[in-house]
């Protein structure tokens, strides 16, 4: 094992790690924002919206993320240059950058998987609690914000932690669309130093550390949630 390349590339690994964290956090925030209504309409209806949400979850969960990523980056991305005048518009620098496409793909993936989790979570909240909330005069939105959503999230918090770890482990796929996050940097090292194992082992170590931090963070948050003492 030769590690003399490490000091030289360490700053780039730190930049890559920062990009990984950005990808992860932004996708989880956007994805969860979408997952809540996707889960909710499957429980409350109306029927056509519920079917739409169910179809969305099935398609997202039934196709590889790599294909979704390529479909969005190469497929959808290839449509934009044909729109007249778009090269001169203020949007063009963003449309040329790979990062927004990766965010879009990962957010859709998080929305699909977590929409399914949230469906079960919303369904799992006892009816009596919702009726009680309505009975004391809360508006439907208040019921959702004060009772239904907090109780649903409380029930599936450990599941969501596991799902976010899976999302973290999916971020290296972004390297295939030219985003040099942590794994992408290790590929650069591999190509420039002709060392196969050391950069891969190092990046594996980085991901293990990130997972550990994520698990500790979510365990801390989980303990913050008041639990009913049974």
């Amino acid at each position: 094992m030769v590690w003399d390349w490490l000091p030289e590339y360490l700053p780039r690994f730190m930049e890559g790690l920062w990009l990984t964290v950005q990808l992860l956090v932004i996708s989880i925030v956007i994805g969860m924002t979408l997952a809540i209504p996707i889960g909710l309409v499957q429980v409350t209806g109306p029927r056509p919206l519920a079917w739409l949400a169910k179809g969305f979850c099935t398609v997202v969960r039934g196709t590889p993320l790599l294909i979704q990523l390529w479909l969005i980056y190469y497929g959808v991305g290839s449509l934009f240059p044909s729109i007249p005048g778009i090269r001169e518009s203020f949007l063009w620098p963003y449309l040329r950058d790979a990062f927004p496409y990766a965010i879009l793909a990962f957010s859709i993936s998080v929305a699909g998987y977590e929409g399914e989790v949230m469906r079960g979570a919303f369904r799992g909240v006892p009816k009596g609690e919702l009726e009680a909330a309505r009975a004391i005069g809360m508006s439907p939105f208040q019921v959702l914000r004060r009772v239904w959503l907090p109780r649903a999230v409380q029930n599936v918090f450990p599941t969501l932690t596991g799902e976010f770890i899976l999302t973290l482990k999916a971020t290296p796929l972004a390297a295939t669309i030219t985003i040099y996050e942590a794994f992408g940097i290790s590929s650069i090292v591999r190509q420039e130093t002709y060392r196969i194992y050391e950069p891969l082992l190092f990046v594996a170590f980085l991901y293990i550390c990130l997972s550990a931090i994520l698990i500790l963070l979510f365990r801390y948050l989980e303990n913050k949630i008041p639990k009913r003492s049974a």
């Binding site: 099935t58 039934g62 196709t63 590889p64 482990k169 290296p172 390297a175 991901y207």
Partner: protein, 237 residues
């Protein structure tokens, strides 16, 4: 953009046939890897349950590390490490270096990853089998082997089946990552097709549709298998 039907036509210059052959490779690898994973998982689970401290700890390290590292990193690591290790063995025994069949390599890499997950599924299922059933089997004089093949493992299946169905779906989707090491399964074939035709959207949509059809078909099959193995069990939920 070219006509969608021309691009997706079965025979060349259309890419439909190539995509279907890619799909066949994907299914082959997924099937092989899944079976290898089940085998590793079964041994891993019983190793964790009955093994001594050394075996238990090494299995614990195996399942923890595999599940903590991104699949893409694992696939590259296992791919290179497996090839180097095999060639090292062959050379030390005085044979020539060989190029590994990509199908075998893909099965071994994904199967090794799947094994870690199915170990945990089987371990959970083992503890769900009521102890009374195992004691009853022992009481009527079954040997340990018979007790496991006739009672424990069949009784584990209903508890394991939903986890195993999930693992199969993960296996089919994980094969797409083999595109990164250059194995021509569906994802890589699609990428090559888009490279030559520039018809990005229709080709990727077609690939996604093929993966989706595998998933939907698997759901039907696993549903039937689950119903079969749950027969005679009390209805839950």
């Amino acid at each position: 953009m070219q006509n969608v039907f021309e691009v997706l036509a079965y025979s060349p210059p259309g890419w439909g046939g190539a995509l279907l052959r890619g799909l066949l490779n994907t299914v082959q690898i997924a099937l092989g890897a899944y079976l290898l994973g089940l085998l590793i998982g079964l041994f891993g689970a019983f190793g964790k349950i009955y093994g001594g401290p050394v075996l238990r700890w090494s299995l614990e390290i195996y399942t923890t590390l595999i599940r903590a590292v991104p699949e893409l990193v694992l696939i590259l690591l296992l791919y290179y490490a497996g090839a180097d290790f095999l060639n090292f063995l062959l050379e030390s025994m005085g044979f020539e270096r060989i190029d590994i069949n990509p199908l075998v390599a893909g099965i071994y890499v994904i199967g090794f990853v799947q094994g870690a997950y199915s170990t945990e599924v089987f371990r959970g299922a083992f503890y769900a089998v009521p102890t009374g059933q195992i004691e009853a089997a022992k009481a009527i004089g079954m040997s340990s082997w018979k007790c496991h093949t006739r009672v424990v493992i069949p009784a584990m299946i209903p508890f394991a089946i939903s986890g195993l169905a999930n693992l199969w779906l993960i296996a089919t989707k994980e094969t797409a990552l083999l595109a990164v090491v250059g194995f021509s399964e569906l994802a890589l074939v699609t990428k090559q097709a888009t490279g030559s035709t520039k018809a990005y959207l229709p080709l990727y949509l077609a690939a996604a549709g093929l993966y989706l059809s595998v998933t939907l078909a698997s759901n039907v099959i696993f549903g039937a298998v689950e119903r079969y193995y749950r027969r005679g069990q009390p209805v839950q939920g």
